[in-house]
């Protein structure tokens, strides 16, 4: 058995979701190879070399692969597929975009977004926005899998001695070209991996009011998230959305502010260790999943919370 993990990166940095995919792969078999497709990815390869679980890195390095265009990347994976029993990628928008193409080109039914590995052919995955968990068994000889990054700890980057094998590949397409990417840069921790997340909903009322959350996020070193309602209303950009069709987060502390708690939002955060809900509607369903609920007007509560955190920091210092 040999497993191929498709690395997600931005040509410079390895995304932590890749480390989670490597951990998932290690629960199936020890023979793990990582495929890095990109342009000038030496830093990414060097990082992967240091991971003990990784046996080999296959580097397809060419300027035409600088952006992960699915139509361009999937034929590379298909051409290598013969050597592996399992091909695994993170269930991020990167992995979701590419892997189903690989699956159908190999005539395999993909197993999406798994949260647990029972055996090399049996997996657990959430369905219905996480309101049910299905245990499923794949009968395809080759398994094409995407994993939910928050369900697998990132592999540690130490003790590795993997070799890098350069591979030339000629895939060319004319149907799709990249124009640009509008990334939201922030000094705060990344939403998907932050230890603390504070999210706002429609209750915030405007994009200006998200400044109240940003202030608290800075004091807690937290990432800022949002409900779909807040994103749809234009208060904050789409990459902040937590939920069934947004990101899944599993922080130690999740603070939901002005979020009622629709099942689609709960799907993205209900595995958090501690949940705090702040809402003016006492009947809001978010209180049913919260460890600590605070009923009241967020415009009174958030400034108070900010000053309480200041007090805490002063005492600690």
């Amino acid at each position: 058995m040999s497993i191929l993990v498709l690395a997600e990166h931005n040509n410079k940095e390895l995304k932590s979701a890749t480390l989670s995919a490597i951990t998932a792969a290690s629960q199936i078999d020890e023979s793990i190879e990582v495929l890095v497709i990109g342009s000038e990815c030496d830093e990414v390869n060097n990082k992967l070399k240091n991971i003990k679980l990784v046996k080999k890195i296959i580097a397809v390095d060419n300027s035409k692969y600088i952006n992960p265009i699915a139509e361009l990347i999937s034929p590379i994976i298909v051409s290598l597929a013969g050597n592996y029993t399992h091909i695994i990628a993170p269930a991020s928008t990167f992995g979701k975009n590419i892997m189903p193409r690989v699956a159908i080109l190999l005539d395999v039914a993909q197993v999406s977004d798994i949260i647990k590995i029972e055996s090399p052919d049996t997996f657990v995955r959430p369905i219905y926005a996480g309101n049910a968990l299905a245990t499923i068994q794949s009968s395809d000889t080759k398994k094409i899998i995407t994993i939910r990054p928050t369900s697998f700890d990132p592999a540690s980057i130490e003790g590795g001695v993997a070799e890098v094998e350069k591979l030339e590949f000629n895939s060319d397409i004319s149907c799709t070209e990249f124009i640009n990417r509008d990334e939201n840069k922030s000094d705060r921790p990344e939403l998907g991996t932050a230890r603390i997340v504070i999210s706002g909903g429609r209750g915030l009322g405007s994009s200006e009011n998200f400044a109240l959350l940003n202030d608290i996020a800075d004091k807690l070193n937290a990432a800022v998230g949002a409900s779909r309602a807040a994103v749809d209303a234009g208060y904050i950009s789409n990459d902040s959305q937590v939920g069934q069709t947004g990101k899944v987060v599993v922080p130690d502390l999740y603070i939901a502010v002005g979020i009622s708690g629709a099942i689609q939002h709960l799907a993205g955060m209900k595995e958090s260790k501690i949940i705090v809900a702040i809402n003016k509607d006492e009947e809001a369903p978010i209180f049913n999943v919260a460890d600590y609920g605070l009923h009241g007007d967020l415009f009174d509560i958030l400034p108070q919370l900010s000053s309480e955190l200041d007090k805490l920091n002063t005492i600690q210092n």
Binding site: I179, N238, Y292
Partner: protein
């Protein structure tokens, strides 16, 4: 130019899901069913393209049991021109759905296929990508904006890092995000009119597609329940609890 739109009948997004006691699946008897939400965005977008004069026909296809016809009728009432129902009483995996749709595409020759980015029942997020690869067409996933030019499309995609813009040639498969548009409601006269619009019928067998399952569902369980916590009186108590009880700040 013809646009093909795919729609799926799923448990309504507002329904609280109940897992069957015997672990064989989720309860669907006497449960409200609706069109998969991002499929509504796909129908809406197709209608807007047609209304702008850039397309002349919108064809809606659904795969599933008899009642999938209701979902097709909903799309016809929104304004689609005609329907195609591929009748199947058993479960159909995304891989087989893509193969069935490939056969429909051969018959219909659309230039654009619009689909929802994922179905909210199995949350697989596969079919559009599979269909695109199978057809060898351009792909645009998680689409929040479509700008149709003469022989190409500028597509804005919602990705984890923010927004990505790509340009694709035609034909193209695009999977729609909920933010693409605001789907319209069908008016009563249009609901009446939709009853007269034609729906063609096929089955996987008549299309020659093997739909045997590759993935076996062994069991379905409820996720672990969170126990409801406590209400705190004020911010000071909240911060104290987070600091000393939960120890997370």
């Amino acid at each position: 130019m013809k646009i093909l739109v795919t729609v799926k009948r799923v448990i309504d997004y507002n329904v609280q899901i109940r897992v069957k006691a015997d672990g064989s699946g989720v309860e669907t008897d006497n449960v409200k069913m609706s069109m998969n939400p991002p499929d509504e965005n796909a129908v809406e977008e197709a209608l807007r393209i047609k209304e702008s004069g850039k397309a002349d026909e919108v064809v809606v296809v659904s795969i599933g049991e008899d009642k999938a016809q209701e979902t097709i009728r909903t799309a016809l009432a929104m304004g689609a021109d005609r329907g195609i129902h591929v009748k199947a009483s058993q479960e159909i995996e995304p891989l087989s759905v893509a193969k069935i749709l490939e056969k429909i595409v051969e018959k219909e020759n659309p230039k654009i296929i619009l689909m929802g980015k994922q179905a909210i029942d199995d949350d697989s997020n596969q079919t559009g990508q599979m269909l695109s690869a199978k057809l060898g067409w351009a792909q645009g996933t998680f689409v929040s904006k479509i700008d149709l030019q003469d022989e190409s499309v500028i597509i804005t995609r919602e990705i984890d890092e923010g927004l990505e813009k790509i340009k694709t040639s035609l034909p193209v498969v695009a999977t729609c995000d909920l933010r693409l548009n605001e789907p319209r409601y069908a008016s009563l006269p249009n609901i009446m009119k939709a009853k007269k619009k034609p729906i063609d019928n096929y089955t996987p067998e008549t299309l020659g597609v093997d739909v045997s399952l590759r993935i076996k569902q062994l069991k379905v369980e409820e996720p672990p329940k969170r126990t409801k916590g406590i209400m705190v009186a004020d911010v000071a108590e909240l911060v104290h609890k987070l600091k000393h009880e939960a120890k997370v700040i």
